[in-house]
Every structure is written in C-alpha cells, then in structure tokens.
C-alpha cells in the first residue's frame, strides 16, 4: 500500500506533470481563466488519464510485449486512447447531460494531449503494473488539477492587479507559471 501512496504523491507533487515535466501546458494556459472551468478540466484530465492508464497497460502487457511490437507503442497508444475517449464522450453525452456539460466538452480537447500521452509512455517506461499505473494516473491527474486550480485562482486575482502594459495577458501568466514551478520545486526533497 505504501508503494501506491508513494507513486501517487510523487506524481501529484514532486514530479507534477505541468510544473516539473512541463506537459499539458496548452490547457494549463488555455483553461485557467476561471476556477470553475479549471476544476472541470482537471476532472476531465484525471478521468481520461485513469482510463488511459488501464487501457495502455493492458495493451502493453497483452498485445505489444508478447508479439514483440514495442516499436509500435506510439501509434497503438494514440489509436486506442483517441478512440476510447471518443466512445466515452458519446456514452456520457447520451446518458447524462449534466455530466457531459461538466466533463464532456473538455474530452475531445485532451484526447491527444501530451500530458495524457506522457503518462502512457512513462507507465510503460517504468514497467508499472496495472494497479501501480492506475495510482500513477490518479496522482498525475490530481497534480494537474491542483496546478490548474492554483493558476486559475492567481489569474482571477491578476485581473485586478496593476500589470504593466506589455506584460498584460499571456506574458504575466507565463511569469506566474514560472514562479509556481519554482515553488513546486520545493517538494523535491519530500520523499528520499
């Protein structure tokens, strides 16, 4: 059990996908203007990450490895992630409209996002088992949500700040993200 918790914390804080691997920067800046949409985006990413972790792990263990096809990892992963997320999106749309409004609209955006794909590749690279991979995905998703919510909180406050003209908008957001990444570097010594 301790091992799983360690994987979770490591993925969420120490090796945060956004702030230390710089994966998924696009939604990090795109959807961090309002806290409400940031939370939805974070949940959607966590959801897709968990599904991805399960599917890619199964695909890796029962298809790519036995047939010695690991050089097809990229194509196979992309194919499976993209189509599975599409199916899930259709399913959610049909069965639950409120859930679709919270999650669904973000799903097509993140099917081929680098954070999702990075997770799939990291899982394969580190030879995680199924449960390990799931916890890794949950941790990564939690870390992504955390980064997005913090960022959106700061950006909502920044609306009222007296920002110099040439730093308004994206430049100040990048500067903020840099400071935030520096702050997260403080977690590096958490687990030794």
């Amino acid at each position: 059990m301790v091992e799983y918790i360690l994987i979770f914390i490591s993925a969420a804080l120490i090796n945060n996908f956004v702030l230390s691997y710089f994966l998924g920067i696009c939604p990090f800046f795109g959807v961090s203007k309002k806290t409400s949409s940031a939370v939805s985006m974070g949940l959607a990413v966590t959801f897709v990450m968990t599904i991805t972790a399960i599917v890619t792990n199964l695909l890796n263990t029962y298809f790519l490895k036995p047939f010695d096809l690991t050089y097809l990892t990229y194509v196979a992963f992309i194919l499976v992630i993209a189509s599975l997320v599409q199916v899930v999106e259709m399913f959610v749309k049909k069965t639950s409209k409120p859930l679709y409004n919270i999650l669904g609209i973000y799903l097509p955006l993140i099917t081929t996002n680098c954070a999702i794909f990075g997770l799939a590749l990291f899982g394969q690279l580190r030879d995680y088992g199924l449960m390990q991979n799931i916890f890794f995905a949950l941790g990564a998703g939690f870390g992504f949500t955390l980064a997005l919510v913090i960022m959106s909180g700061i950006r909502e406050e920044l609306e009222f700040a007296d920002v110099p003209k040439y730093f308004q908008g994206v430049p100040i957001a990048f500067l903020t993200a840099g400071s935030l990444a520096l702050a997260f570097m403080g977690f590096a010594g958490l687990i030794s």
Binding site: G30, F63, D68, L69, A76, Q86, V87, K93, P108, L109
Partner: protein, 272 residues
C-alpha cells in the same frame, strides 16, 4: 518478413476493432443536435485556443447559440466572420453607442513651407527613426515631423499618405484605430483623437516661445491666450504647448471656438 506481417496484422486488427466500436457507439449513443450549433462552430477559427474563456471552439459555438453569448467574445476571428455568425442567428452585433471611434491625427503642421532647416540636406537612410537619432534631423524644430513616412509604411490599411507638403495625412474613413503609427513615430507627434473632434492645435513643440517662434511659422509659442479666452477648459497649457482637451471642447459651441481661434497670435488653432 514475419515481423512485418505480425505488425501489419496486429495494427489492422486493433484499428478495425476500434473502428467497429466507434461505429457501434455512434449508432447507439447518437444525440440529435441543433444544426445551427454545428454551423456556428464551423465558422469559428477552430484553433481551440480557449482565449474566449470556453474550453474550445466547440464549447464557444455552443455558448453563442444556446447561452446567447455575443460572437464578439472570439478574439481570433475577424469582424466579417463575427457579423456572419450574428446574421446566421438572426442577431445583430450591438456596438456601444457611447464609444466614439478614435482616429490617428498628426500633430504637426510644420511643412518645409513654414519650417526652417538647420542642415541643407539629409543624406542618410530615408527613415524618420534613423534621421531622428542622427543629430536630431535636418529640421530646426526638434519636435516636428521628419517626413520620411515611417507611419505610412507601418499602417496596415494604407490610411496614411504624404501630402504635397511632405506631411502625413490620415484618412479618417480608412483608419482602424490600431495605433501602430502612434508607436512607430519616433517623435510621438501622432495622437489618437475622437472621430467627431472639430478643433485642433496641430503642434507638438515644447520649445519656449522664443525658440518656437524662430524655428517655425506655425508653432505654438505657449502664450496661453487661448486658455484665458475659453473658460470651459477646452485648451490647456503645459510645457510651452497649448493642447486641446478633447472632452471639454465637445461641450463648447463652434462659434465660441472660432472666436478663440481668431485671437491666437500664431493662427494655429484650426476649427473645421
């Protein structure tokens, strides 16, 4: 050979399997949607930048149709596209009536007719920015227009042209208030003024009266007569330069402004 066969076969099966799943899901979970939403989404840029505040162009298009958001929330697509979308939905883009369009105006009337030169000829690269840093230029007035047309080059809609006296003139109809010329001018003599503005002091010289009088025939000498003659605050004097307060001058009648203009010893207050 066998490796290739396995790879091709494996990927084909994988692809086919997911294709079938998608076909099945599409039939099973099909939801009818407003065709208008799809049309609007198609008109949007489709770059999914999220700058509108929504998750992407899909969510934005949906919000425009169902939540009555204005198409103007998209910062990427141009005005024509926005109007097309509004027309599709039978709406109109309402422009704020209180917002007066700003146009660029060159605040210098010192063409070669009126202005003295301190050097006969400028042989350098024909650009205002270059001439400005080479000893302050050929014109004796260090605030005046240099006349190489840097503003003409930078204007994206070709609204600025040089007149026969070698001064840039802005076409009010064509100006799109982008302020590129304002930033480009090395002497900062282009300023944004309200479109319906009717009175101007076209001078930027902050030289003291004596110097200003010597270098140019149409310069403001900072005497302050216009300020004294108009009580509403249409004119203001700062650093030996009288300027028009574009808000206060709107409240004053044209007759009054014309009367003040006649009292100007330099005759540089122009009233349309």
């Amino acid at each position: 050979m066998q490796n290739i066969m396995i790879a091709v076969l494996g990927m084909s099966i994988l692809g086919l399997f997911w294709a079938l799943v998608l076909v099945f899901a599409n039939k099973q979970f099909f939801v009818k949607e407003d065709p208008l939403v799809e049309k609007v989404i198609e008109s949007l840029p489709g770059v999914n930048c999220g700058a509108c505040g929504f998750a992407g162009c899909g969510a934005c298009g949906d919000a425009i149709v169902t939540k009555k958001e204005s198409p103007t929330i998209c910062p990427v697509c141009n005005d024509q596209t926005k109007e097309d979308i509004a027309e599709m939905l039978g709406r109109k883009i309402v422009k704020d009536p209180n917002q007066i369009k700003l146009i660029a105006k060159v605040h210098c009337a010192g063409s070669k007719k009126y202005l003295k030169l301190r050097a006969e000829k400028y042989n350098g690269y024909p650009s205002c920015a270059v001439e400005n840093i080479t000893g302050g230029g050929t014109k004796a007035c260090t605030y005046g227009c240099l006349g190489h047309g840097d503003c003409v080059k930078v204007c994206p809609v070709e609204a600025i042209a040089m007149n026969s006296d070698g001064l840039p003139v802005v076409d009010e109809q064509k100006c799109i208030s982008c302020e590129k010329c304002v930033l480009e001018c090395p002497r900062s003599i282009i300023k944004m003024v309200p479109e319906n503005q009717e009175v101007f002091i076209l001078c930027s010289s902050k030289d003291p009266g004596k110097v200003a009088r010597q270098v140019c025939d149409v310069s403001c000498i900072g005497c302050g007569i216009c300020v004294k003659n108009e009580e509403q605050g249409s004119f203001q004097l700062k650093d030996f330069l009288a300027t028009v307060d574009y808000q206060n001058s709107q409240k004053v009648s044209l007759e009054k402004l014309r009367e003040v203009a006649t009292k100007c010893p330099r005759k540089i207050i122009t009233v349309k």
